[in-house]
Amino acid sequence: MRRPKKYESGEATQYISRRAALRKLQLSLNDFRRLCILKGVYPREPKHRRRAQKGSSEIKVLYHTKDIRFLLHESIVWTLRDYKIFAKKSNRDRAIKDFRNLKRRLALFPEIKLDHIVKERYPTFIDALKDLDDCLTLLFLFSTFPSLHLIPREQSNLCRRLTIEFLHYVIASKSLRKVFISIKGYYFQAEIKGQKVTWIVPHYYPFKPQSRQEVDFKVMSIFVEFYTIMLGFTNFRLFHSLNLAYPPQFPSSVLQDSEESLKDEASFVSDRIAALNFELLRTDKVQEDEEELDIDMELLEQDGDSKRIIKMKQEAQEVSRLRTLFKGLKFFINREVPREPLVILIRSFGGKVSWDSSVFAGSAYDESDETITHQIVDRPSLATQYISRDYVQPQWLFDCVNQRQLLPTNKYFLGEKLPPHLSPFVDSKRDTYIPPEEKALLDPSLIETHAQSDDESEDEAEKEEEEAVDQELLDAQLQLAYQQETAEYKKYGGQDGVNEDEEDPEDDDEEDDDEEEEEEVDEKTKRLQQEKQKMSVQSGKVHKVNKRQVHKAEVDEHRLQARMVKPRHRNLFRKLIREKQTKEKEEWLLRKKRRTIEAGEKEARKTAKREARKEAAAAAAKASKLGK
């Protein structure tokens, strides 16, 4: 038997470099890229790069040989080749000005068919849902794009259509769970069939001309080409799962790609938002399916009270509460507020929404409607205000959704300084830094105590200030007398104060000892001791444990033990320790910053108050003078 040569078997044959793959598939690099994107073929990281690259150690793009063989049987490879032929022939026609032939050829443009690839990449529907994040984010981005050289108008229109359909599904199924306003865009998280789907809607208006090195629209366009097909099929199934007709029918005035709407960006956007404010056509007459949910709850109740069950029950209750969060509320959105995310929010939690009909299309009712409960305003002040409704800033809606309850609106009133907007995506049980606002949210009791303590401290501060002000108001003589008195008091208190100082548990024992010695030196104590010695029982010395030393000993011990980590784990151990240290440092830094900020704020508040008081006092004095 022939002995196999080096690199004829094993890892070297499992991987194939991109160059070799191109040669094997007989495709250009561009076509290969397109094929890889559409088919979802990606390079692999070999276990031993050197072995996989037949001895060379430079970093190459390696594909799995089986993947490339799989591509070899793909039908769209032929379409890609047809494209090439088509381009050649049509260019020839154009060159010899054979326009009749050219027209005939253009009509026979080879269409690429991606349906089977969707099925193949996502064998189950759940797989498709799992991979929906990137798809949605990219399509939401593209749906706002103008017509570009590499992105035809049709593509961005299709993106718009599909994303609106998806949003309609989210609204109809009430599956939205978390929302977040980031500086990058609006994050939405929906739970669809148990899968968490997160997408970003960029802030308006995301398109900016980009240099070729920065962003290659060609690549993104290929992704979008696939994602549109995928989202289309996903939407189809989602709509049918809710017994909704697909494609959804909108009133003819809305979402028609008329010349006008394409020309005018503003009307283009407003059309899109208007489309969200319509109820969809149902194929069946059953209106709500909330009963189903109740049955689920009952089932859970029957199952008993293990911890998990209780937790699940709570979760289910919360979700059911969330789904009807805005039910019965009527919102009116002022025109300066970005409407799209708010409409999604309000509609998907059962609220009704409208806006200024004179500016944008698709409004349901007017501002003067007395039944409006909330008006969303994002400006410092408003000229005409209705007394029957709350004027809140848009962040209120987002915080309500993340808290899964209607928060009090007083912090979000018109022109109010907003509380920080926290991300709902961070794990509340993490061991890193948790800002006090989040802590307060997690533990409502903490808010009150925190507030109370704040109040108390403020009260104390106020008292002090009052005293100070009083002093200022006193005559000079009185002041002097008072000062003398206080000085005496301080002297007296200073002697007693030693004990108070000792209360600090973290103080070193040595210091304590010193102080004890000092005490011994004190004559009073000596006398006392003598008196005590006369008595039969002597007080024993308390054995004080030097906490610092104990801690140090423990640390030393731990360090020594840490040196016993097995050699093969040593690097990992070091890495873990380093990570832990950086995390701790980060936390420490954040805490410190917070402390300094709060101290600064308090100081500022105090000074402001004092100023105000002084002014008031001065004004009062003036008034009294005038009165005289």
């Binding site: 990606y42 793009v61 990137d134 990219l138 900016k208 507020v337 991300s423």
Partner: protein, 785 residues
């Protein structure tokens, strides 16, 4: 052909010559004409080159030509050649001299004839009749005077002109001739007068102002009045041909008015009223096709196209989780999702998440290596939602994600999600492994240089130390008092107290000499006995080989040394590095690293005899050790440890340490485990029954480990290192062979001071108590209890 050409040429020249003929006498206002001449001649006079004139002349004639060719469009193409011949003709004229008058007349006639010929040839081109008028008028006059072709013949004969063609005439500047005539004879340049001649001519000749030099022939040409008139007309911007009438009445050949009655009034054919049968057939066929659905209206086609354009969606997945068997890519790895945003990404984050000045600076500094940044964006705070702008890097981020998805290599990796604590092996708490030394309880001071070595009396009352200050000191352990100081000649490398409690001997290695010292402490009887034992050398019954003799000499100590306590001196041939006793106290071994193949020696005290166990050196010997029970000898070279059987005289085992440089060894009192310290910060625990490779490698120290020592009774061992620390560890060896030794580091004792990179040099245990002694480079010996 030539004839025809000439004819044409003449025709072209016709008008000026005619004019000369007619108006030669009538030159009236001279002054005006002088100006004109200036205008014509100036360029020629300015430049000494003939070319200027030449070109000027050409341009004039060509303009004329153009004019004519405008008249009759078909002559445009010949313009160039004819203009060249035109020149020739004028030169011809000059040669003929005074008879120009007649000649001109002839020319005139010629021209008219040629014109007529042309008109005959192309009657259709009579649209330019206005121009034709003038020659036609002169026609009868010429007819009366001469027959038609007579003149032309003669003129052909007389035609002496330059044949060089249309070339720049300055090519002939250096020659005497100026070209060739028809007979290929040189045309000689006319004599050129100097300036005085010219001046004279200017004064004499009244026609000087109208004399022009013909560059082709070099002859002077007198311009006729006709010529001058023509030039005047050109200069003043009028049509050069004075006979041209601009305001001639317009003859309308084709009327623009629409006639009331059609010229051709034929009635329509009957076919035009009857429906076409073929068309009817075709339409009925189409209708049928439409009806059958074979054909579609354009609207339908358009609609279908519209519908076809977008993608078609249908129920691709029948169920949520049902999977249809399809070929997929091999071993699919789904791309990890992007991280979800934290508080810092909020548009209105808590204030501590915003960057302060320092963080901002750091963030901006890492512009070139963004992966090193702590956050990939700069947190920002906005007062209201309306103020939030579009994120400028959104597109780029999406693009990078796309690149990641199709270009980033993927592999399945197990991510370790463990706590660092988990990696620390589970060991019993040191508190359960007491007793072990925990605090420094005594410092023995007195040496003035670094203390190299320490050894404890077998009973545990006294301590001996050897130092670089050339002294050996004997201390009382309990009090820390130095009982005796023995001065030596050289640096004391090593001291070792004889482990036999019935003898009180200390082996001191100083320089080349090994001193056996009686410390004279403790039991007096014992001291006396030892003195007696060492006083006399036993009789030598064996003759030592030369090899040993040259290496070692035994001798009793001198008197002065006797007083100090030295009893026997064994002088080696090289400095001694280390000395160690056999457990029974009769044998001792010394190491001389420079001794090549005689670097390890074994001395027998009772017989005062030395042996060289190895005939060959297997490396630089660092340390030797006797096995406590078996007749085995451990030799540590730099890298390896060899175990020899002294009885069988063979190599038993070779231990592979895989370290750079061994510093010391210590054997467990039971003799199955060996502890090795190395200069590369490691300590190696060898289980001799188990393997030749270390059972455990410990990196407890941060610097080179100088020495290790096992306790004789307790399961403890200590190590001293250059990082000034003595580390006490628990090293339990079980009788059960299946159970591996348990090693637990217990305590780090770090009280020695650093001096010149050295920390602790030697450690040794108290034979009975769990106390450890350490010597350091800071000239002290310390006791930890």
């Amino acid at each position: 052909m030539t004839k025809k050409l000439t004819l044409k040429r003449k025709g072209k020249d016709a008008e000026p010559t005619n004019e000369v003929a007619t108006s030669s006498e009538a030159s009236e206002n001279e002054e005006e004409e002088e100006d004109l001449l200036q205008a014509v001649k100036d360029p020629g006079e300015d430049s000494t080159d003939d070319e200027g004139i030449d070109q000027e002349y050409h341009s004039d004639s060509s303009e004329e030509l153009e004019f004519e060719s405008d008249e009759e469009g078909n002559y445009l193409g010949r313009k160039q050649s004819s203009s060249a011949e035109d020149d020739e003709e004028s030169s011809d004229e000059e040669e003929q001299g005074d008879e120009s008058e007649d000649e001109n007349e002839e020319n005139d006639e010629d021209a008219s004839t040629s014109n007529q010929i042309k008109s005959d040839e192309k009657p259709s081109s009579s649209s330019g009749t206005t121009k034709q008028g003038a020659p036609v008028k002169e026609l009868p006059k010429r007819d009366s005077s001469k027959p038609e072709y007579q003149d032309s013949d003669t003129s052909d004969e007389e035609d002496i002109r330059n044949t060089v063609g249309n070339i720049p005439m300055h090519w002939y500047d250096e020659y005497k001739h100026i070209g060739y005539d028809w007979d290929a004879k040189k045309i000689v340049k006319p004599p050129q007068g100097d300036q005085i001649d010219e001046f004279l001519r200017k004064i004499e000749d009244p026609d000087f102002w109208r004399t022009v030099k013909d560059p082709l022939t070099g002859q002077d040409v007198r311009l006729t009045d006709e010529d001058i008139a023509l030039i005047k007309r050109i200069v003043s911007g009028r049509i050069p041909n004075k006979d041209h009438e601009e305001y001639e009445p317009w003859i309308e050949w084709f009327t623009s008015e629409v006639e009331k009655m059609p010229i051709k009034n034929v009635p329509d054919h009957k076919r035009s009223f009857l429906p076409s049968v073929s068309e009817k057939k075709r339409v009925s066929r189409m209708v049928h096709a439409l009806k059958m659905g074979w054909m579609k209206t354009t609207e339908e086609v358009q609609r279908e196209k519209q519908a076809k354009r977008g993608p078609k969606f249908y129920m691709l997945w029948e169920t949520d989780t049902g999977r249809e068997h399809m070929r997929r890519i091999h071993d699919p790895v789904s791309a990890p999702k992007r991280d979800l945003p934290g508080h810092a990404e909020s548009y209105n984050p808590p204030p501590e998440y915003l960057f302060d000045a320092k963080e901002t600076k750091e963030w901006l500094k890492l512009k070139d290596e963004p992966h090193k940044r702590k956050l990939h964006f700069m947190p920002q705070k906005f007062r209201s939602l309306r103020e939030v702008p579009a994120y400028s890097r959104f597109l780029r981020e999406r693009f990078l994600r796309c690149l990641d998805l199709y270009l980033c290599p993927r592999a399945k990796r197990v991510k370790l999600n463990i706590d660092a604590e988990y990696l620390i092996p589970k060991l019993p708490s040191p508190r359960d492994l007491q007793p072990f030394p925990t605090v420094e309880s005594m410092v023995y001071r007195g040496h003035t240089d670094l203390v190299r070595s320490v050894s404890v009396e077998p009973k545990g009352e006294y301590l001996v130390s050897g130092s670089d200050d050339k002294t050996v000191k004997i201390w009382e352990i309990a009090t820390g008092r130095c009982i005796r100081t023995i001065e030596t000649d050289e640096v004391v490398r090593c001291v070792a107290w004889c482990p036999n409690p019935k003898l009180s001997i200390i082996a001191v290695a100083t320089g080349n000499r090994l001193l056996l010292v009686n410390p004279k402490v403790g039991d007096k009887v014992l001291v006396k006995k030892t003195d007696d034992l060492l006083a006399e050398a036993p009789s030598q019954d064996v003759i030592e080989s030369e090899r040993i003799k040259t290496a070692v000499q035994w001798s009793n100590a001198e008197d002065d040394e006797q007083e100090k306590g030295v009893r026997v001196v064994i002088t080696h041939f090289k400095p001694i590095r280390q000395v160690t006793w056999h457990g029974r106290g009769d044998y001792l071994a010394t190491v001389m690293p420079e001794g090549a193949n005689r670097s390890a020696l074994i001395h027998q005290l009772s017989k005062r005899r030395s042996q060289i166990p190895f005939s060959k050196s297997k490396g630089l010997i660092q340390f030797v050790l006797f096995h406590p029970v078996k007749p085995c000898f451990f030799v540590a070279t730099q890298h390896n440890i060899r175990i020899y059987d002294l009885v069988k005289q063979e190599l038993v085992k070779k231990l592979l340490t895989n370290s750079k440089w061994i510093s010391g060894m210590s054997i467990h009192p039971k003799g199955d485990n060996l502890l090795v310290s190395t200069y590369d910060k490691k300590m190696l625990w060898f289980d001799l029954d188990l393997s030749t490779k270390p059972y455990q490698t410990m990196r407890l120290h941060r610097n080179a480990v100088r020495s290790v020592a096992f306790h004789l009774r307790y399961p403890l061992f200590a190590s001293g290192s250059d990082d000034q620390a003595v580390i006490v560890s628990h090293g339990m060896v079980y009788n059960d062979l299946l159970q591996n030794p348990l090693i637990v580091p217990l305590k780090k004792l770090q009280t020695h001071e650093k001096r010149d990179e050295f920390g602790v040099l030697d450690v040794n245990w108290h034979p009975v108590q769990p106390w450890v002694f350490s010597t350091g480079a800071d000239c002290t010996i310390r006791l930890y209890t």
